[in-house]
Amino acid sequence: MSGPPIAPIPVARSPIVATPPVEVVAGWEVSTHRSTAALRVSDLTWLCKVAVKADANGAFTARHPTTFGSARRLPGDLIEIGSDPGGWLTIGPVGDAAALVERLTDEVADAGEMVSVIDLTHGRALLRLTGPDSVGALAKLCAIDLADAVTPNLAAFRSSVGSLVTDVVRDDLVDGTLSYLLHCERSSGQHLFSCLVDAGAEYGIDIAGPPI
């Protein structure tokens, strides 16, 4: 190559404007702002996201019993979401996408089943809304009944949130604090984020950087 030098360090960026202070961590530009607010929203777009499509009655399904409309916590800080009949989205630690794609692809390589494993890390914006008032905030954006009886912990559904098609997973924290993962097309990530901040303002929402 010749000519002027190119930018030396590739930096990955979320579609959501990071709240200062901002640092580059693991190659991603992220907010390191911390919050103790009762209601918080965090941009987790940097987490890896891998989509799998397979036969709903095939070998992959047998090994991954996470059903459509639910989610499951797996070792390795993974969460597997039944996103469609015969479709899954696995969310994992930042930077693990390639390894996860390889592992999932290899799982049923010998089964003769057509399985598509696609890294969607860059294609989806991922947010986490945490706090007892999460339901109140979401209820301003989403028509789904968020009561325990309808959407218990690890329930997953796709709905309109702020007039945007959004996948929602209830994923309470280990201490039982109410929490939701929301993901959408990357290009609409800022819109979804702004909607949540707007809806949560009534409850004193704060923005928190992702756990590092």
Partner: protein, 940 residues
């Protein structure tokens, strides 16, 4: 209770008063400064200050004062600042309020429109219909004139947009009405384990107990305490259930919920409630009496007087006549005596009656039926009740009239998930209403899956005189100025149905929507018909909304999706003019689109094309899908190649286009137009899931998984050579219409294809989106010495037009079949089947469709506006211009457009009519391309 009178009309503290005397407020009304207290309504503060008149009536401009002292009071609608149509008998006072009367000229005190009273005989029902029907040419003038008489306030064009909120609520039981029965129902439902939403129109729970006596206040305190201890009851006051729809989908409008968001007070909140059961405990509305002068200021309902006295400690007059037919009227007389008002009771239960009221801006004299005249400044009527049944009607019921009790009652036609509670079902003491409400609440909870049903104790139907109209005519609809005489006239004119009379006279059609008027309207129609059973007359139909809702509440928050590319921050920093393209914000240009075109033709430019739809297709059967969706052939697309394709809908109409590349044995990437991304994805899934579920294909939308940028221009290869690794960019190694995976600016996992929408050597690079900005900046850094500049959508549109590339939906429309868009070269009718084939076969056998052609104005300086018509003679349209621009490359104007087939021959001169009606000649050219028709520049 104290009986002392304080200064003005403000009383000493009352037991149930809601004002805070420690918190005085100053406000302005009609240009003058007044004071009130926190807790006052606008009207109570003004009445306390001696103000009697708050508005002028709709048609006759008669002075109007307090009637019901509720939200529905038709004479108390005012303007508050920029906010029109504020219900002043309900809206709480706020410091600094600027309150003014609506639609008066020149003043509230003297309104010239009052002259209409002298013309009353000519302004009867149907006046407008009869008078302004002819001549039709004057309708616009009539509209202007009549518009000046329209009721309501004004909104300034620059008024600040209020903050309106929306909320979804899911509860087991929704209780409409927070009176004793409603509160008891909520408590019982909660005790059964149900979640409850308790909605009340007033600012506090309690209904009529709030302005009752000591026993009522004690019962109220007890009920409020019971409600408060149940966390599962959400209390929503200053709110109204405005509609009940199927499956208990319930609309609730919450006014001024007292919440601020980001510095904006929420003005109203529309709550969309899904409830297992609905308890309707809406209670009774006191109805006015119809007699001459019944709309004079100082003529009030007994409940209005009791509200003013007991809630706001306001003395409504000094000498009162109380016309009473029930215990509530008696209690009102007692209240008035207690505060020192002289009271003359006219007891309807002894057949006494009132005939007319007389006065000007305040009632002065009441003429009784026996001829006696009583001087007074307050005439109170207590003649019965209108059952607040609208929610029951919306739930399928058709309440029936009971002459004994002189009001309507619900029937058993209600939906199972709707339960009636309290006074709607019958009369009773507070404890009886509470017991009835509790049973209703338990039953509602049971029907929502909690606990067991409880039979409701029977409520009596206490006999009540049927008092609707005296021997004189008066106002029936106070909002619309419709009198009983108008209704009799309508009957004489043949309008014998209550629904027709409603539409002809507009009775019950005003802002109070029949709450004060409907029973009287039915009664007067019955009288006009000479029938005694109101059920023969029926009622008008109650429809949502129960109360007026602002358009702001209906519109709600403007959550409109806006999509951005990863390079948006860069675009903003470089002064890109934003272009709204569907949901997307794109750079239209960076200052000079013509210069951007010139730079691309001369050197190299880069455009952000992230919005291009992208689908990841995998599986051995992908070629079958491509052959089905596209009109051309796909079975032999080699790995590493891309091909242009056009999709037609099943009617043969051009639907979308794009290129699809083959990345691997069973791996393809399809691109679509930016606006067609979602449609094409649905189209593929529809075919796969319904017609070909056996095909081994997985489709994954990856539109925003990649940041996409097109590097175009003769120096694009040189630029990319500086940032791309792993790919030989030489023309023979990476030829036109091929795809390669590559590492770009150190980012692996990119793919790039060589295509030429601009007509230049160009590469479309697709980069993992999070690195989009990094790669974009790297390209500009690397190409600085090559003169690389960004170009926007406008420059791209110019260049594609120069090249003759059409845009779906710009150069086609919903009637453009494939051959009409000059696509015969790629439509392969010898394929077995594909979407739209039958229609295209049919089209191929005809020759009567318009053709897309390239055209150039004979005068090269004229750029016909897009959508300009191609015409023949004076009336015949034979085509249209679909795209037009001034070409910086050619230095002349260029067009694409449709013409009839006989005009499509190259060299034909057609006539284009411009928007200013000038006609200019255009010359049809060979093919669509104005520039580089052979495509040599793309293949270098």
């Amino acid at each position: 209770m104290s009986t002392a009178v304080t200064t003005g009309r403000r009383l000493a503290p009352q037991a149930g008063e809601v004002i805070d005397r420690r918190a005085p407020l100053s406000f302005r009304w009609d240009g003058k400064t007044y004071t009130g207290f926190v807790g006052d309504t606008i009207v109570s503060a003004l009445v306390a200050s001696g103000v009697d008149v708050f508005s002028r009536s709709f048609k006759y401009k008669r002075p109007r004062g307090v009637l019901s002292a509720t939200f529905h009071d038709p004479g108390c609608t005012v303007q508050v600042g920029d906010e029109p149509n504020v219900r002043a008998a309900h809206r709480r006072l706020a410091a600094g309020m600027e309150v003014s009367p609506e639609n008066v000229w020149p003043s509230l005190k003297f309104d010239v429109g009052a002259a209409n009273q002298l013309l009353g005989r000519f302004l009867s029902s149907g006046f407008y219909y009869k008078t302004f029907i002819k001549p039709q040419r004057l309708w616009p003038a009539y509209q202007q004139i009549l518009g000046r008489f329209a009721a309501g306030g004004v909104t300034a064009a620059d008024a600040e947009h209020g903050y309106f909120d929306k909320r979804y609520i899911h509860v087991d039981v929704c209780v409409a009405g927070g009176g004793p029965a409603g509160m008891a129902a909520a408590v019982a439902a909660a005790e059964s384990g149900a979640s409850v939403l308790l909605v009340d129109e007033e600012y506090e729970l309690g209904g009529h107990l709030r302005y009752g006596g000591d026993a009522d206040l004690a019962a109220l305190a007890e009920l409020r305490a019971e409600v408060a201890v149940h966390e599962s009851i959400e209390v929503m006051t200053n709110a109204a259930v405005t509609g009940r729809y199927d499956m208990n989908w319930i609309a609730v409008v919450q006014r001024q919920p007292g919440i601020s968001v980001q510095g904006h007070a929420i003005h109203e909140r529309l709550c969309k409630v899904r409830a297992g059961s609905l308890v309707v405990a809406a209670g009774l509305i006191e109805r006015p009496y119809v007699f001459a002068g019944n709309d004079l200021p100082g003529v009030m309902l007994s409940t209005a007087v009791r509200r003013l006295v007991n809630l706001h400690a306001v003395r409504p007059g000094d000498n009162a006549v109380v016309f009473t037919a029930n215990a509530d009227g008696d209690a009102c007389a007692q209240d008035l005596r207690r505060i020192g008002v002289g009271v003359t009771v006219v007891d309807a239960r002894t057949d006494a009656n009132i005939r007319r009221a007389e006065g000007g801006k305040r009632v002065k004299t009441v003429e009784l039926a026996d001829g006696r005249r009583v001087d007074c400044d307050l005439l109170v009527t207590a003649v019965g009740w209108t059952a607040a049944t609208p929610l029951l009607n919306m739930a399928g019921d058709r309440p029936q009239y009971d002459a004994t009790a002189a009001r309507f009652f619900p029937t058993d036609r209600l939906a199972a998930n709707v339960v009636v509670a309290g006074a709607l079902a019958g009369d009773g003491s507070t404890s009886e209403l509470v017991a009835h409400g509790a049973a209703a609440g338990a039953t509602a909870a049971a029907r929502a899956g909690h606990g067991s049903e409880v039979p409701a104790p029977a409520l009596a139907r206490v006999p009540h005189p049927e008092l609707y109209r005296s021997t004189t005519h008066g106002i029936v609809d106070f909002s619309e100025d419709v009198s009983s005489k108008d209704m009799f006239s309508a009957k004489k004119e043949g309008y014998d149905s209550i629904e027709l009379v409603k539409r002809y006279t507009t009775v019950t059609m005003g802002p109070s929507q029949g709450k004060l008027e409907s029973a009287n309207a039915v009664a007067i129609m019955a009288e006009a018909h000479g029938v005694s059973d109101f059920n023969e007359i029926g009622t008008t139909v109650w429809r949502p909304p129960y109360v007026p809702i602002t358009l702001g509440a209906l519109g709600g928050r403007g959550f409109e999706n806006t999509r951005f590319s990863p390079m948006q921050p860069w675009h903003e920093q470089h002064n890109a003019k934003p272009l709204v393209a569907g949901d997307w914000i794109r750079p239209e240009h960076y200052g000079d689109p013509a210069a951007e075109v010139a730079n691309v033709r001369r050197s190299v430019g880069i455009i952000d094309v992230t919005p291009l739809g992208k689908l990841d297709l995998r599986g051995p059967d992908v070629p079958k899908l491509l052959n089905l969706l596209y009109v051309n052939k796909w079975s032999r697309l080699p790995i590493g190649a891309v091909r242009y394709g056009v999709m037609c809908a099943e009617d043969g109409v051009v639907m979308d286009d794009g290129v699809t590349g083959r990345l691997g044995e069973n791996h393809y990437i399809m691109t679509t137009t930016s606006s067609g991304a979602a449609t094409v994805w649905e189209w593929t899934e529809n075919w796969l899931q319904t017609e070909h579920p056996d095909w081994q294909i997985h489709v994954t939308p990856v539109t925003t998984g990649y940041a996409s940028m097109n590097v175009a221009g003769p120096k694009s290869r040189e630029l990319l050579g500086r940032v791309v690794s792993g790919v030989d960019l030489a023309n023979d190694a990476f030829p036109y219409m091929h795809v390669r995976t590559a590492t770009v600016a150190d980012i692996a996992g990119c793919f790039m294809w060589r295509i030429g929408f601009t007509g230049e050597l160009s590469y479309e690079i697709h980069v993992p989106a999070a690195y989009g900005l990094h790669v974009w900046e790297a390209l500009f850094d690397a190409g600085f010495d090559l003169g690389v500049v960004p170009f926007g959508v406008e420059a791209q549109r110019i260049m594609r037009l120069e090249k003759g590339h059409f845009i779906v939906a710009q150069d086609t429309d919903g009637l453009t079949l494939g051959f009409g868009a000059d696509l015969g070269w790629c439509i392969k009718l010898d394929k077995d089947d594909f979407a739209g084939k039958p229609e295209l076969v049919w089209q191929s056998r005809r020759d009567d469709y318009q053709r897309l052609v390239g055209m150039q104005p004979v005068d090269p300086t004229i750029v016909p506006a897009e959508a300009s018509q191609i015409v023949e003679g004076t009336k015949k349209i034979v085509g249209r211009v679909t795209s037009s621009r001034m070409s910086p490359t050619l230095g002349r104007s260029i067009c694409l457009g449709f013409v009839e087939p006989r005009l499509a021959t190259p060299g034909t001169i057609v006539t284009c009519q411009l928007p200013d009606r000038r006609r200019v000649p255009l010359k049809v050219i060979e093919g669509l391309a104005h520039f580089d028709p052979d495509g040599a520049r793309m293949r270098i």
